[in-house]
């Protein structure tokens, strides 16, 4: 399978703090890759680097054969930030239609994206009046509306009810089936099991890059949660743990 995203020796500093130190990975085309790791481990920073909005210190990120952030890629990449980035003073429909228009797509395609995220009933409401979960889905609608070849989703299912989460994952699968490449960050292990591949990041370094089955096999357990704990503990001598008093603050979106 061809690779959609290649990250080589990526080093990113945010302020004085090193966030990613020499991370390398390859993400195959038409797959759903789960990006897992504790808060502050560098998940968002890696996603930002793939989208091409992150200033990097060294290393390369290649997306669909072009350097990340290349103008040609802007039509082909969709990005859902962790905090919903939609206009609170527009309705869901108006938001989706605006983002659709940026990709040269029609209003009916925008309306379809709103339906796909389960917001058809709230389409006429101002985003500012929606619940957190709905707002995040409005933002998701704007990320998927352009039918991107590469879709980077930073915690798309936080705060969603289980039925809806299941439906969203079914859609992610459909998109991958249709050839899109998805990178999805998550905290929920049940979701990790639905990915084709998993990347586990801790303290800015990759500690696992494999299929869920292989990750479990490597750790000698059937439980993904347990498998990650085992893998993290194995790394412990090599990777210094969080120092006392240091807050594991989330990287801003």
């Amino acid at each position: 399978m061809a690779s959609a995203i290649e990250v080589a020796d990526l080093v990113v500093h945010r302020g004085a703090r090193p966030v990613l130190h020499g991370l390398s990975c390859t993400i195959p085309e038409g797959s759903v890759t789960g990006l897992l790791g504790p808060s502050g481990s560098g998940k968002t920073t890696l996603m930002r680097a793939i989208v091409g909005v992150q200033v990097v210190k060294s290393g390369t990120v290649t997306v669909l054969g072009r350097p990340a952030g290349d103008a040609q890629l802007r039509k082909q990449i969709g990005y859902l930030t962790q905090a919903p980035s939609v206009y609170a003073d527009l309705t869901v429909r108006e938001n989706a239609r605006y983002f659709a228009a940026l990709y040269g797509l029609s209003a009916s395609e925008a309306d379809a994206a709103v339906r796909d995220v389960g917001l058809a009933a709230a389409a006429g409401q101002l985003v500012g009046n929606l619940s957190g979960g709905q707002r995040s889905r409005a933002s998701l609608a704007c990320a998927v509306v352009g039918r991107p070849k590469v879709l980077i989703l930073d915690e798309p299912t936080v705060g969603q009810d289980p039925v809806l989460r299941d439906e969203l994952w079914a859609q992610f699968r459909d998109m991958a089936q249709a050839g899109s490449t998805l990178v999805v960050s998550s905290h929920v292990m049940d979701e990790a099991n639905r990915c084709d591949r998993l990347l586990l990041i801790r303290e800015g370094a990759l500690i696992a890059d494999d299929t869920p089955a292989a990750v479990k096999a490597a750790a000698g357990t059937d439980d993904l949660d347990q498998a990650f704990l085992t893998l993290i503990r194995r790394q412990e001598p090599a990777v210094p743990g969080p120092r006392a008093g240091e807050s594991a603050s989330e990287v801003p979106a």
Binding site: G52, V53, Q54, V55
Partner: protein, 242 residues
């Protein structure tokens, strides 16, 4: 096309904020009415000040609105998201210019209608030129607001750029002290401030029945200042951030 969609989006945002729309329309007319009663006994002074204020209000209001709107685009992440899409920076900047230009045209027309019809404002030149200069001023305020927002990290900081960038222009534009009576260095400062030319253009409309060469030259200078500010603002929109 993206430019027009962006303009439409910004106007739609405005439309949902009814109180802002009401204030955009009502505030300049109320302030002009206040001026009218202040100078009821001095009709000539009212004509001079009201004419200039027709150009100054849109400048200040659009500066404030744009710097906050842009600050919001930055803090809510919509700016970063827009810059990952096929949208060009000029689509965004001119989208704002067009949207607030339209809003300013409505605002200036209503304020001018009130000033001429109810408050007996008297100018030698036509009201159409006053509105044209007022709209150019609004777009200038918008362009400077876009630029200023890049240097503000919070909305608190953004609003404070208004006194920094707008008030000195107002003080030195010739409204309070005639420009030829200012100290040389003040005059030199006044010479490089775009609002000076906007006010001079308005004064030309006030004093001459037909548009003068000076008026057109001043109008061109204001338009040039808009282009320079927008170009500088484009430089502050970074697709990659630390």
């Amino acid at each position: 096309m993206i430019l027009l969609h962006t303009t439409g989006r910004i106007l739609r945002q405005l439309r949902h904020d009814r109180r802002t729309v009401a204030m955009l329309v009502a505030v300049p007319t109320l302030l002009l009415t206040l001026l009218y009663f202040m100078y009821q006994e001095q009709e000539f002074v009212f004509d001079r000040i009201a004419l200039i204020m027709l150009g100054v209000f849109p400048f200040i209001i659009m500066f404030l609105i744009t710097s906050i709107a842009m600050q919001r685009e930055r803090t809510t992440g919509t700016l970063e998201r827009l810059l990952t899409t096929p949208l060009r920076k000029t689509d965004l900047l001119f989208g704002y210019g067009l949207a607030f230009g339209v809003a300013a045209a409505v605002q200036a027309s209503l304020a001018a209608a009130l000033a001429y019809l109810l408050l007996d404002l008297d100018t030698q030149g036509g009201a159409g030129y006053v509105i044209m200069i007022a709209v150019a001023n609004a777009v200038l305020g918008m362009a400077l607001g876009l630029l200023a927002s890049a240097f503000a990290k919070t909305e608190f900081q953004a609003v404070q750029f208004m006194p920094v960038l707008a008030v000195p222009q107002l003080l030195l534009c010739g409204l309070f002290v005639q420009r030829d009576q200012m100290a040389g260095w003040l005059q030199a400062l006044s010479d490089v401030m775009p609002l000076t030319y906007a006010v001079e253009a308005l004064q030309e409309v006030g004093a001459h029945a037909e548009p003068t060469g000076t008026m057109w030259r001043d109008f061109a200078i204001v338009a040039g200042a808009v282009v320079v500010s927008l170009a500088a603002a484009a430089g502050t929109l970074r697709r990659r951030t630390p």
